[in-house]
């Protein structure tokens, strides 16, 4: 008998769990199928969540009602606000998590969602019902029918693990079987497939580490939470340690390069430049005298440490040898070897902005299968794909976030309009509106939208309202509070700013560079002093009002362009006033609107203007002659 669901999610990683949760929150009957239910929400790589740009994504996922923020709060054992010394626009929260507590938190949240079922089995194929997807088939031959299917296969599609220069072992993660039939089934649907690689470092037994030789990296002491809606109890905190590689390690690695899977030729897939293996670092920067190594606790109840910075595909004996050259690790025993993994991904230009596969209606992809890396990037896509799968089944309008609304919007748009040529991760410099896309304002940015679209549970919506009230309170305090010179000057001296000799409103002082909102709030005895997040949000909006407005103006222009729709069937090849390169790219990528077209590398501002003319003339049914005067200039035509 065929079991039937509205939405089926294949995979239980960070993309799969968010997809299933979002779909079920929207009221769709949802099934999550994964080969091993005990590994739902597993952290396959380092036990950390957040970081620059990524931390904002966690906040966005949370603001949209997602799982990741809460699970992180419930499992974090070390927390730091990166970029704290810079402006609040780029503060970036990052947490080390207990590798056991995190998935338990995820599972607890999923178990609390109505309409969501879990099932343990390997999916080996999909079946069609005419032109659209009908459902999935398990290894045991069981069929599940669904209105839409979200595939989040991570690194499992034809995954192959390399430790040393041998041919590698088929595996999805260390010790887990890969998914080969599903990869073949999807390829058989005519999808273009390509290969990437990534890697992990070895882990060591903490009892064999000489901590006296390491530098302690303490976490921030505060009760920062990724989740704006639910206050999870935060576990006991631990420290991390820092050490450095040196000449000894360089020698060992160089002498054994030929035995590396990466440099011995066993791996062909392309890896991420921002997550280089130790082999890469030694080869590409031979003059760097040393490289940092972070020792990160794997959990509260284990002594295992994650050796961040020494990702490698060298054989076990070489890993052993180079580890012992690192100060503090001279006697360290490896518990798990580092490895490189190669896997299939489907180049994401084959997707719509809803993450639905263009050529297979009803099939959605999210996570590493789209050529990205990172738990956070996976979670963001999972949420978008899961929500859109549910909305499609319900016959509702798709859920697409703009580049001016969320890093998730930047991520999806980059994937779909630009494609990837290395595993994709987010950076703040990928976003044109990073003053708007901050970690502090994610709930204000996305909460109301999430509520409107039905992505928030009632208790999340209530918490959002409460937060809004506190935000207004902070804003009003700065607007109306008048500080006497004595109070104001204390803060101004500290900020090396000119002192005042008359009472002055807090907001006026906040406009000055270097004057911090939290200092003013403390000095002025504000009732909310200590709530740094809301203060930072208000501070940024007051201090950089001009810049924020400038970004808002640009965002508005972009939205105008996004309103100029480009139908899927435009005869780009006939648009002779466009450069050949632009025509080729447009035929291949078929952007949905003018703003997307403008972000395709190779489509110039002049092409964009001529595209508008071509489309207008095509609508009027008039052919355009190549010799008509093309307009050249700024793309701000709308």
């Amino acid at each position: 008998m065929t079991r039937s669901y509205d939405v089926i999610v294949v995979g239980g990683g960070h993309a799969g769990t968010e997809a299933a949760a979002a779909s079920a929150r929207l009221g769709a009957r949802t099934l999550l199928i994964t080969p091993d239910l005990s590994r739902v929400g597993q952290m396959s790589c380092n036990p950390a969540i957040g970081g620059v740009a990524k931390g904002v994504v966690v906040r966005e996922v949370d603001a949209l009602g997602g799982v990741m923020g809460r699970a992180t709060d419930a499992s974090r054992i070390h927390f730091r606000m990166l970029n704290r010394s810079k402006g609040p626009a780029v503060w970036s929260p990052r947490a080390q998590c207990d590798r056991g507590l995190y998935p338990r938190g995820v599972r607890r949240i999923l178990d609390g969602i109505e309409k969501l079922d879990l099932f343990q089995e390997m999916i080996t194929g999909v079946w069609m019902e005419g032109e659209r997807l009908g459902g999935v088939v398990t290894r045991g031959g069981q069929r599940f029918s669904a209105g839409a299917v979200v595939v989040t296969a991570g690194t499992f599609l034809r995954g192959r693990i390399h430790v040393g220069g041998e041919a590698g072992v088929p595996a999805g993660r260390a010790g887990e079987a890969p998914s080969i039939e599903l990869a073949e089934a999807l390829e058989a649907r005519g999808l273009e497939v390509a290969r990437f690689k990534t890697g992990t470092p070895p882990r060591v037994d903490g009892r064999t580490v000489d901590f006296s030789r390491l530098e302690v990296q303490a976490g921030d002491v505060n009760d920062y939470r990724f989740s704006a809606y639910v206050d999870e109890p935060i576990p006991e905190q631990r420290v991390c340690w820092i050490t450095w590689t040196g000449e000894g390690l360089r020698k060992v690695v160089q002498e054994n390069l030929g035995r590396s899977a990466l440099y011995g030729g066993a791996i062909s897939g392309r890896g991420p430049r921002y997550c280089p293996s130790i082999e890469d670092k030694i080869v590409k920067f031979p003059n760097a005298p040393r490289h940092q190594v972070f020792l990160e606790p794997e959990g509260l109840e284990t002594t295992e440490l994650y050796v961040n910075g020494l990702s490698t595909s060298l054989p076990g004996d070489v890993q052993e040898a180079f580890i012992h050259t690192v100060p503090g690790l001279e006697e360290a025993r490896i518990t798990k070897l580092g490895y490189a993994i190669e896997y299939d991904y489907f180049p994401p230009h084959q997707l719509r902005h809803t993450l639905e596969v263009r050529s297979v209606p009803g099939l959605f992809f999210a996570g590493q299968i789209n050529g990205t890396t990172g738990y956070e990037e996976a979670a963001g896509q999972g949420l978008v794909a899961g929500a859109n799968a549910a909305l499609k089944v319900q016959g509702l309008e798709g859920f697409v976030l703009g580049r001016d609304q969320a890093y998730i919007g930047v991520l999806v748009d980059d994937l779909v309009t630009k494609g990837v040529d290395e595993p994709y991760r987010l950076f703040t410099s990928r976003a044109e509106f990073r003053l708007l896309l901050r970690q502090d304002n994610a709930p204000e940015r996305l909460g109301p939208l999430a509520e409107r679209r039905g992505l928030l549970l009632p208790e999340q919506a209530a918490a959002l309202k409460d937060r809004r009230r506190r935000w207004v309170e902070v804003r009003e305090w700065f607007r109306s509070e008048v500080l006497v010179p004595e109070t104001a000057n204390k803060v101004l001296r500290e900020a090396e700013s000119a002192e005042v000799n008359r009472p002055v409103r807090a907001e006026e002082l906040l406009r000055r560079p270097r004057v911090r909102g939290e200092s003013l709030a403390r000095a002025g005895g504000a009732p909310f002093a200590g709530n740094d997040e809301l203060v930072a949000a208000v501070e940024l909006e007051v201090k950089y009002e001009g810049y924020v407005r400038r970004e808002e103006d640009r965002a508005r222009r972009l939205r105008d362009q996004a309103g100029f729709l480009l139908p899927d069937d435009l005869p780009y090849a006939d648009f002779v006033t466009l450069s050949r390169e632009a025509r080729d790219k447009l035929v291949r990528l078929r952007p949905g609107n003018l703003a997307q077209a403008g972000r395709i590398p190779g489509v110039s501002p002049a092409d964009l203007q001529n595209l508008v003319l071509e489309v207008r003339r095509a609508r009027r049914g008039v052919a355009v002659d190549a010799t008509d005067e093309p307009s050249q200039g700024s793309p701000d035509i709308l």
Partner: protein, 431 residues
């Protein structure tokens, strides 16, 4: 089509880029039209990037016309003005700036205009703009490293370094921007107005300057019936010389009119040549002309009719102290005194930036180019000033993106993810 015109090829295209002597025949009747040299340029290695052929025919008016007609009957059509270059642009063979250079090159009427246009066609200006854009990308990369990678092996980039490098980029933008006032005049020539009271020798000087210059292109009545305009190349630089002497002073009323006309031209002039005979003293008329000159426009006082006063004798008084002119030259069209000095002096006054830079430096020749470079310069300066004032670097970076966009629009290219590429090339990133 070439095959239909040259049946002796027997349906096989000639070897690329090798000239062949072929019989060209009428595609309908087969009648021999001419024997000429044929060169075949298959795309993309051709000027336009598309397949093309060049025919060298016997001259005259009839033979080329017959062959053209045959081509049209064989399926060709006449190219419209600029179409070859337009196609080259659309096929990615030249960028926007180079395409503009081609148009300028065809129309160049002076040595300086030709040099600037040729340099532009060859990609000199495009290269300079790309270098400047790269300088901005480099700054963005420093900021990206500053913001995106807080925990790396290398220490953070000091802000002073970013401020300093921004200053360097701004300086280079300024140098390029400074070529614009002269560069934009290169295409049409600098409007140079000969002004002065009636009978001050304007018309004779006008004729003398035209006679001196061998590179006269046109000498036609001006758009108004009361002035004469001529294009002339002086010292290799283009000038539009205007003589306002079209009206003869038969009576007082008309005389006043003549001055009015001159004043209208003066208001738009790039250069004023104010004529005052050596034997006449500075008076109210001269002061009136001078007051009409826009700020910044150079004025040369020409003491005309030098031959009328004996060598060594004192000239009648010039302008009173405090009234400045950029040069004073004694002239006589009778014996040629001062004509060479005029030719040598004028280019330096109008084309200041260009003359100093020398012939090979890239020059901005269009308003569009100046606007883009100016915008980029203003944004880079705003960035530097914001950083110095304590604005957070990641906030001030908004200016850099605007500057980059301005330059991209200028050459008509659009960037990929170069900022990140630069970061990865320069820093060892990642745990």
């Amino acid at each position: 089509m070439l095959l239909r015109l040259a049946p002796s090829l027997r349906g096989e295209l000639p070897r690329p880029r090798v000239t062949r002597l072929l019989s060209l025949k009428d595609p309908t009747t087969g009648a021999l039209l001419d024997r000429g040299l044929v060169t075949w340029f298959p795309g993309p290695s051709s000027y336009t990037g598309e397949d093309s052929a060049e025919l060298s025919l016997h001259g005259g008016s009839l033979v080329p016309a017959l062959v053209l007609d045959a081509c049209v009957r064989a399926g060709a059509r006449m190219a419209r003005p600029g179409e070859f270059t337009q196609r080259a642009y659309l096929n990615g063979k030249v960028d926007l700036v180079q395409a503009e250079g081609v148009a300028d090159l065809v129309e160049a009427e002076s040595e300086a205009a030709r040099r600037a246009a040729l340099a532009q066609t060859e990609g000199g200006l495009s290269r300079r703009v790309s270098e400047l854009r790269e300088g901005i990308v480099e700054l963005e990369a420093l900021l990206a490293y500053h913001v995106d990678f807080p925990e790396e092996d290398d220490p953070p980039v000091p802000l002073e370094r970013i401020v300093r490098e921004a200053g360097g980029v701004a300086e280079r933008l300024e140098i390029l921007q400074a070529t614009a006032p002269g560069g934009e005049l290169l295409r049409d020539g600098a409007l140079t107005v000969l002004a002065g009271r009636p009978n001050s020798g304007k018309s004779s000087l006008f004729n003398a300057l035209l006679g001196e210059a061998r590179a006269i292109v046109t000498a036609e009545p001006g758009t108004t019936r009361d002035a004469i305009e001529a294009r002339v190349s002086l010292g290799g630089y283009p000038f539009r010389l205007v003589d306002t002497a079209g009206i003869r002073p038969h009576e007082g009323e008309v005389e006043r009119l003549g001055i009015e006309v001159a004043r209208r031209y003066v208001a738009r002039a790039s250069l004023l040549l104010l004529c005052l005979p050596c034997d006449r003293a500075w008076g109210e008329e001269e002061a009136t002309f001078l007051s009409a000159v826009p700020v910044g426009v150079p004025v040369v006082l020409l003491r005309t009719m030098r031959d009328r006063i004996p060598r060594g004798a004192a000239k009648a008084p010039g302008p009173p102290g405090g009234i400045g002119t950029h040069a004073v030259i004694d002239v006589s069209v009778e014996d040629g005194t001062g004509l060479r000095e005029i030719r040598d002096t004028l280019p330096g006054l109008v084309y200041r930036g260009l003359v100093e830079l020398g012939g090979d430096a890239p020059v901005l020749t269009r308003r569009r180019q100046r606007v883009a470079v100016t915008r980029a310069l203003e944004e880079v300066l705003a960035f530097r000033n914001a950083l110095s004032a304590g604005v957070a670097a990641e906030v001030a970076a908004a200016h850099l993106r605007s500057a980059e966009t301005a330059l991209e629009e200028l050459v008509g290219v659009i960037s990929g993810d170069e900022v990140m590429d630069r970061v990865f090339a320069d820093f060892c990133i990642g745990k």
